[in-house]
């Protein structure tokens, strides 16, 4: 599970962005976004980070 933990770590920084959200809707609590890549330098991480930040702003 070494790859798995790298993956989650990669994703956590994008995910902290979406942390405290949605207290009134169907989705409650923290959200993490996992990505299909182990790289934090790649395009999947980059777009996930952009989207996570925007969602965080709209949900708070």
């Amino acid at each position: 599970m070494k790859l798995g933990s790298v993956l989650i770590a990669a994703v956590l920084s994008a995910t902290t962005a979406t942390a405290a959200m949605a207290e009134s809707g169907a989705l409650r609590g923290n959200v993490r976004i996992v990505i299909g890549s182990t790289s934090t330098g790649g395009d999947t991480y980059q777009i996930s980070n952009i989207v996570a930040r925007q969602l965080k702003r709209s949900w708070i």
């Binding site: 993956l7 989705l27 993490r32 976004i33 996992v34 999947t44 925007q54």
Partner: protein, 277 residues
């Protein structure tokens, strides 16, 4: 393999607190039979599409005899071997499969002259070209653009031969393009300037698109909430600027539309892959 771990993690959480963002590799991996990839439409719920990375490309050395994709096709038809370095099993391979499919249609029996050199990372693919082990490589505008601006006598100098993205996708890129490669130049490498046939009157294109994947058992109300939140975000308009600044082309579609769109893409590429098997 990063993707299979992410799919497993997503499968374990049906509360909606774990979401996944990935791209066309998610179904291409399954079409190519890569272990750890399953049918995403059966095993997950498809969320909205978010953006396209328009950079998927095929390149040749600067001093290659091939000036165009037509030259490559002609060479293959004339029984010359053309070796293409790819990372097998997905996004890096689909354009190669499309070329092979075009050869099958236009020059039946000559497919075997187009040879895949299976490697891994981008630097591995580049190295195959530098070492003259490959005649063409899969790469990207972002990773390989710099090599296309090297002096012609530099051993590492390359040229773009083909970008797989749709013309309309590249047309939405910033005018300045990426790095030293302007949008105008990028547009010279996409259809209809460069064509790879897919059917009788159709050309193959491939846009690498990012989208959400959800646990199959997630409350549908959460999918609706995310659709609505993103709808508002894309209507507001900042995200498009941020995406374009990072050389992504915005392509928001709410879940239902996204699923239909991606299923259609998968059906097309499934055809291409099965044609050449």
């Amino acid at each position: 393999m990063g993707a299979s771990s992410a799919f497993r993690i997503l499968s374990r959480d049906s509360r909606g607190n774990t979401l996944m963002i990935f791209h066309d590799q998610s179904y291409l991996g399954n079409l190519y039979g890569v272990p750890g990839y399953f049918d995403i439409f059966e095993n997950y719920r498809i969320g909205p599409t978010l953006a396209t990375n328009p950079g998927n490309a095929y390149l040749v050395p600067r001093d290659s005899p091939y000036q165009s994709m037509n030259d490559v096709m002609q060479a293959v038809a004339n029984d010359q071997r053309v070796r293409v370095a790819i990372q097998p099993g997905g996004v890096s391979e689909i354009g190669f499969s499309a070329m092979k499919n075009a050869v099958r249609m236009q020059h039946p029996g000559k497919q075997d002259n187009l040879v895949a050199i299976n490697t891994g990372s981008q630097s591995d693919k580049n190295q195959q070209l530098f070492n003259d082990q490959a005649d063409m490589i899969n790469g990207s505008v972002q990773a390989n653009g710099q090599f296309t601006h090297l002096p012609a006598d530099d051993q590492k100098a390359m040229r773009f031969l083909w970008l797989t993205a749709n013309h309309d996708t590249i047309a939405q890129a910033p005018e300045s393009g990426y790095g030293k490669t302007s949008r105008e130049e990028l547009l010279r490498h996409v259809e209809p300037e460069v064509t790879v046939a897919m059917g009788n009157d159709r050309n193959f294109t491939f846009d690498k698109e990012f989208f959400f994947l959800y646990n199959k058992g997630m409350n549908p109300a959460i999918a609706d909430e995310i659709d609505q939140a993103l709808q508002e975000i894309y209507q507001q308009g900042d995200i498009q600027k941020i995406e374009k600044k990072a050389f992504f082309i915005p392509s928001f579609r709410p879940s239902a539309e996204a699923e239909k769109h991606l299923k259609q893409k998968r059906a097309e590429y499934e055809q291409v892959i099965s044609n050449i098997q």
